[in-house]
Subunit: 145 residues, 2 copies
């Protein structure tokens, strides 16, 4: 199964906020229009990013702003903020394998270390990319079009 679009939308939002910050107040309506979704979906995401300390949102008058140096926000920070993986595990085990079976009883301990290595590899790559990197990519690409 895929990682939900919340993650890519969250990155999209951050790029938008950074790009538009000098020209206009960045409201959930504006962001929703760029992503092409409902403003409430955006507000929910903004709340998650805010809880993670990545952005701030202004009540009343409105607008979102980035609350951290761009090169200190990694894709992993964003992923963690919006992807609610309760137990932190990327891989899902079937519950209650048969304790009478030597494999069933031990399946978790057999696989945990290997799976953890895989998950860590992915997270390490995510930590290596910052919003600053994405902004640089974006600036280049937008200039071309």
């Amino acid at each position: 199964m895929q990682i939900s679009s919340r993650f890519t939308i969250a990155v999209h939002i951050l790029v938008c906020i950074e790009t538009l910050k000098d020209s206009s107040k960045v409201t959930s309506d504006i962001l929703a229009s760029s992503v092409n979704t409902n403003p409430v979906v955006i507000r929910r995401l903004l709340q998650q990013l805010k809880s993670a300390g990545i952005i701030g949102v202004v009540r009343g008058s409105g607008g979102a702003y980035i609350d951290k140096p761009l090169d200190e926000i990694s894709l992993f920070d964003i992923y963690s903020a919006v992807e609610c993986v309760d137990n932190g595990g990327l891989f899902h085990f079937h519950e209650n394998p048969n304790p009478e079976c030597p494999i069933g009883k031990n399946i978790h301990s057999i696989l945990d270390e290997r799976l953890n290595t895989i998950q860590t590899a992915m997270e390490t790559e995510m930590k290596a990319v910052t919003v600053q990197d994405i902004m640089n990519d974006a600036d280049k690409l937008i200039k071309l079009t």
Copy 2:
């Protein structure tokens, strides 16, 4: 979102087939009992593993067997066999971002390369682990208990 339990169940199944191969015919009932799920769930998985050329299943008289050297079956092979990621992408994008917005129009090209790097890192780790490795881990752990 998590990778579905089909993946860990599939590995579980393979370990079971290999472990039990000399002592009994390995039917979907036996496997279902070890995993603690319904035999039909197992049969569906067996079909996917069979389509991937990893195992064979005997019609009529019953039983599943591994159809490849254990060290030539990687976790990625299993993952690909059972996780139906249609487009091959681990990350899900929101459909139809606003083409009027420079970010919306380019979000795919902005992110694709970075996301691909992350996905590749994960897949590379998955390719590095084979069922033979898992069997070695399993043998060690089962001896301990």
